[in-house]
Symmetry: C2
Subunit: 107 residues, 2 copies
DNA sequence: TATTATAATCGTAATATTGCAATATTAAAT
DNA sequence: ATTTAATATTGCAATATTACGATTATAATA
């Protein structure tokens, strides 16, 4: 018990949920927004910008990476993060079509 | 520890996360979709449709209600659920503007 | 009023998430 | 080769989520 029964749901529903889960934390929403605002793809000071400990930020970044929304080299000094535009568009599409679909058919 | 530090984030970020959290489970995605497809607002057989126990479905419905996405009388026999169209549009708007905002400014 | 059909609530076990201190890793700079 | 500045990983405590059996509440109907 305690585990989501993913096997009883469709791939689409599971993927939508997986994506939503990444956005289901204010830190990750803030991180995405902050990275997107950087002109030249360098986002070093996320820790002080967000106000959580460095390991926590790293953990959140990892969750975002998992669904393919971040590009960049993830090792060493002076990291470089970027939104993966293609994946972003995919995700955006998935979510907005979900919303459109429901809006039209409801009673 | 273990609790999200909501106080260090903006209202907007917190609300986006709160909404995303509701969609962060395949059952709730499926429930929203199922309810929206019913013509006349009667959605009695969610339990067998989704394949989770009745208390579990009830719990998930409650999560959806919490962010105002469901209308209807929630007591007794022959329940009647409906998507709250106004709230739905609000939520749709919030999310899509988040996506648009990011898409434009990223490096 | 007793029965029935339905949904909500309670209690609880299993698992997942959040957050951070301590430590390790990485690569540039000295 | 050391130091330094940055991020990643590990381990763990606190809390949240998921799921369901048992029970309770609700309202229509017999």
């Amino acid at each position: 018990m305690g585990t989501t029964k993913t096997h009883i749901f469709s791939n689409r529903h599971n993927e939508l949920a997986r994506i939503a889960k990444v956005m289901a934390h204010p830190a990750r929403v803030a991180i995405l927004e902050y990275i997107s605002r950087q002109e030249n793809c360098i986002c070093t000071d996320l820790v002080e910008e967000i106000g959580l400990a460095q390991p926590t930020i790293s953990q959140h970044l990892n969750e975002i990476k998992k669904i393919g929304l971040l590009d960049g080299t993830f090792e060493g000094k002076n990291l470089c993060y970027c939104i993966n535009q293609k994946r972003w568009a995919e995700v955006q599409n998935l979510i907005s079509s979900f919303f459109l679909n429901i809006n039209q058919n409801c009673c």
